[in-house]
Symmetry: C2
Subunit: 589 residues, 2 copies
């Protein structure tokens, strides 16, 4: 979707909106962390996100990848930056084609940096001189497909003297076909408001989105504003003077400055904000909270998981629960599906899940992994790691990159008990009975609705513990299970042709929405990955090492099982009785 349409709608409804700008991190670990952050900041309800651009094989590919992943995995519309200087026409052509292929529909067209030391740029034949050339080129080649935004410079591009000339350049960029202006950062609201007025007077009608960069620390702020010749009101310098050595105090003051600026902009009829996040999370979040811009749950959580943004996936409203902590893998495995289940699993009952070609990746490898997980040499060591993860003492396991979700807080102790008893849990959700759809933890979907969850537990279990467990299951008619081993021998106690809805919502004037299911076909696809995580982990340790052999053995011999408690009305779960009731008895590991 074009972000300008989202902006015009928000403007029409006089509804404040905001966007977040990120830059591609330099390390793989940084990229993984950024994805986590983007995923969390989704809940702050940005209208879209920006990702900056640097030319050069990996750099620009990474921008493309982050934009594409933001859309498919995190359901966030991406505005991809693209510069036109210092690069060839051919590369630009290719980058635009790849962007379109990846479903990216928004480009921020920039001139880019000049060659070192230059103040004027002399392009070669076939190269672009100005951002307006890039705008024209995109419009010519792609018609209306892309929403094009361009940069605005409230304090002039290079110097304050350029302001009037820059407004003319901006007008040219708009006339060349740009839809939207995103401005350089500033700290003087009066100056900005005046500049906007001058733009309007010059005939620029496109939406203008002010760039706000929360102050993060004194030295950085001083260096940056000096370098970019950005005017900072004296009051800000005065206030910073006393606290400049206290980073936390500076950050907090930065939040206050931004809040005041946004309020003042709003008083002047400017209701949008573009945050230069510097890939940081806290300041932006605090500012939005301070402003009481509490995101509207309906707007940001139409379903309990983030929907992909792509035409192909737009009808996807049901997913299996198994990949809940591995959404990227799910998107990848199902990338080639022709259609997605809509409302019910129905016709896509046997979707051809793509093969797991390259195996799974674990986040921590080498030294980091050793530091986190040590060198387990017995099942008890492994069990201890799972227990520690549930207790929050380690932040990650191969199956779960992030700590337990807030919704699982209430079952943290129970989960700890399961793992202590030798049931190594890798996925779970507590039951929810008719929580309001605007509940901050459990809620999703339109207002005045009610949401539900059946308790779900997925775990590895030792082969010697399985028979007694299955026997016990027979006494609990409200429990349904699927259990499989690495070879794929599946056993269950319900009609596996039928999916089990484990998350659903009831809303005014709507059919029941059931976005999460437990289902045998997808479980069989998931189990390949679930077992592969053992092997990926084992490769942290040298061949023939005790740890490696241990993890391989578990992968070969243990069963992967999931249990659903279908009675979501019961306050205490039968699953607990079943698993913890037998702690002292038959478990053998």
């Amino acid at each position: 979707m074009k972000i300008v349409d989202k902006i015009l709608k928000a403007e029409e409804e006089n509804r404040p909106y905001w966007s977040f700008e990120y830059f591609p991190p330099k390390t793989q670990q940084g990229v993984v962390n950024l994805y986590d952050r983007i995923g969390r900041m989704y809940n702050l309800g940005p209208l879209f996100i920006d990702v900056t651009w640097r030319w050069g094989g990996k750099s620009s590919d990474l921008t493309l990848e982050i934009c594409s992943t933001s859309q498919s995995v995190y359901g966030l519309e991406a505005n991809m930056h693209m510069t036109c200087t210092n690069t060839s026409f051919k590369l630009i052509k290719r980058a635009l084609a790849v962007a379109k292929e990846n479903g990216i529909q928004n480009i921020l067209a920039l001139r880019g940096d000049l060659p070192d030391g230059s103040t004027e740029f002399d392009p070669e034949e076939g190269e672009f001189r100005y951002a307006s050339d890039l705008v024209k080129y995109i419009r010519k080649q792609y018609g209306d497909y892309f929403c094009i935004s361009v940069a605005g410079y409230p304090e002039g591009c290079s110097s304050p003297d350029d302001v009037e000339k820059d407004i003319q350049y901006l007008k040219e960029k708009i006339d060349a076909g740009a839809d939207l202006v995103v401005t350089q950062l500033f700290y003087d609201v009066d100056l900005f408001v005046d500049w906007v007025k001058r733009c309007r007077d010059a005939g620029i009608k496109a939406p203008i989105l002010p760039g706000i960069m929360p102050i993060q620390n004194y030295n950085g702020f001083k260096r940056m504003t000096d370098l970019c010749r950005i005017k900072v009101p004296q009051e800000i310098w005065d206030n910073l003077e006393d606290i400049k050595d206290d980073d936390q105090a500076v950050k907090n003051y930065g939040i206050k400055v931004a809040v005041d600026m946004i309020k003042k902009l709003r008083a002047n009829g400017i209701i949008g904000t573009h945050f230069y996040t510097l890939n940081l999370e806290r300041s932006t979040q605090m500012i939005l909270e301070e402003l009481n811009y509490i995101p509207d749950l309906e707007a940001i959580r139409p379903l309990p998981w983030a929907q992909s943004i792509s035409d192909k996936r737009s009808r996807e409203t049901v997913r299996p629960i198994f990949w809940r902590n591995q959404t990227k893998n799910y998107i990848a495995r199902t990338a080639n599906w022709d259609e997605f289940p809509n409302g019910r699993w129905g016709d896509a009952r046997s979707p051809a899940y793509g093969e797991l070609i390259h195996g799974v990746q674990i986040r921590f490898t080498g030294e980091n992994a050793l530091k986190l997980w040590g060198t387990p040499t017995s099942v008890d060591d492994v069990k201890d790691l799972f227990v520690k993860y549930c207790q929050g003492k380690i932040s990650s396991l191969p199956w779960s990159d992030t700590p337990l979700l807030p919704e699982s807080e209430e079952i943290r102790e129970t989960l700890t008990g399961f793992n202590r008893a030798g049931f190594l849990t890798i996925n779970s959700q507590p039951s929810t009975n008719s929580a309001p759809s605007n509940d901050p933890v459990h809620g999703w979907g339109p207002p005045n609705g009610f949401v539900y969850k059946k308790a779900y537990l997925e775990f590895f279990v030792a082969p010697e513990a399985l028979p007694a467990l299955l026997e016990q299951m027979e006494n609990h008619p409200t429990l349904t299970y699927l259990v499989v081993n690495k070879k794929g021998n599946l056993k269950s106690n319900f009609d596996t042709g039928s999916p089990n809805a484990v998350t659903w919502g009831v809303f005014p004037g709507k059919e029941i929405i059931q976005p999460t299911i437990v289902e045998a076909t997808s479980f069989m696809a998931w189990k390949d990955e679930a077992y592969d995580f053992w092997l990926a982990w084992s490769r942290v340790y040298p061949q023939e090492s005790e740890s490696r052999k241990l993890l391989e053995k578990i992968s070969d011999e243990w069963y992967l099982m999931n249990i659903v408690e279908n009675n979501y009305l019961k306050p205490t779960s039968t699953i607990s009785q079943l698993l913890i009731g037998k702690t002292n008895g038959t478990t053998t590991n």
Copy 2:
């Protein structure tokens, strides 16, 4: 489905089963009453029903119609009787073709009555002499399509001396291709058990279903058993002697006799029962209750409404609520649909509802209608009739052939209040919050599930009362409505492209099942019928009469509205506040 398959399954599971035999009534009113009865007796869980046959234009057409309606409207597998004497080959050929066209898959092949006074039958060229000829013919023409049952005569067809010969005839009928034996009625269980043994000895392996006719009154019983030379144990005569003048006592004794017979048969390994109901309901029901053959809700109520039995409709699992009291009309209007909504309204969102060609029929016409509804000459008179219907003082209104459903008992007084306030209600359901799926009133679907309903109310409202009502609606965000006038001007307060699920169930190992919806397209089709009932009613009165003009005026001017309370958790309904809260105020009729 072939009834023999259902029987063999029940036999394999050693699960008692029963079937009901009806005959086509002579009057139209009788047919209407029989349908009501068949609908109610559905809840007694018969494995199938039989409908007897008499040749002759209307008679045999009526048998076909009752069989076909039982399957499509009441979801009951029908076993259609067919005789082969006294009729032409051509008629038989046509009747079988029509039966197949109508989805009837079970035929009871009989010889039929002989011409008056004959004891032997001499067919003309091309006619059938014996039932076995008919069996052979059906098998030859239709292969395996039909399940064919044949009659067995435990006491001989014409006289006790024929028994052995009749067993040979029976063997011939089975050898000719019959699947199943349904026996003539009897009262001597020992005799029957012995006869079954002789049948088995003669090589008859097909299931044998004993015919039981509960004694209804002394004289009828005596006449019938004399005429048919049926042996009645002396004990029964002795017991009847003292009570023969007390019909109720005889009926009760008849129940006891049948219960004892069925128990004794069961002790001898015979677990099926074919009830000759004589189109009566109470005895059969009492016998089944006495035997503790409480129907398994799962088996008989997979959905809250009876599913049609036809290949075409087999995937139909969602229906609009509007035709709840007019299922036959719904089946007729949708008879030509290519596919039926399955699980969600989805792709059938704009199904082409057939036109309402002949207008609606009301059950009571002429004298009966006048007796029931009198001659209303004011809106208050009409209102009084609706109030009386809710109070149970009159049994029927044009829109509702039968009294309020048991599930509506709890809202009877509220409904009365609505009608007194001038909101003429024609359909409603109270809300249900997580009732167990085996609840005797609200339950449906598999065990260990929970079922839900949103409160629903549909009513006619005077044009002068509508504006205030719509204004009030704005204060109630949990209410959604659709309102339309005769011309078809539709207004609503929700996205009418989306259906509202008003009945749903959550079950172990399954997706959410949502069998009843409120939806705009179908509401527009239904409103034609809803308004037509006013006109059908008006035609009870002479042209130019006050009553006729009144009902026509209401039909022309009043609005048809439905309201859903989407908060099904609230114990008291906002609809009540809305409608009854304004009784003394703004309503004007």
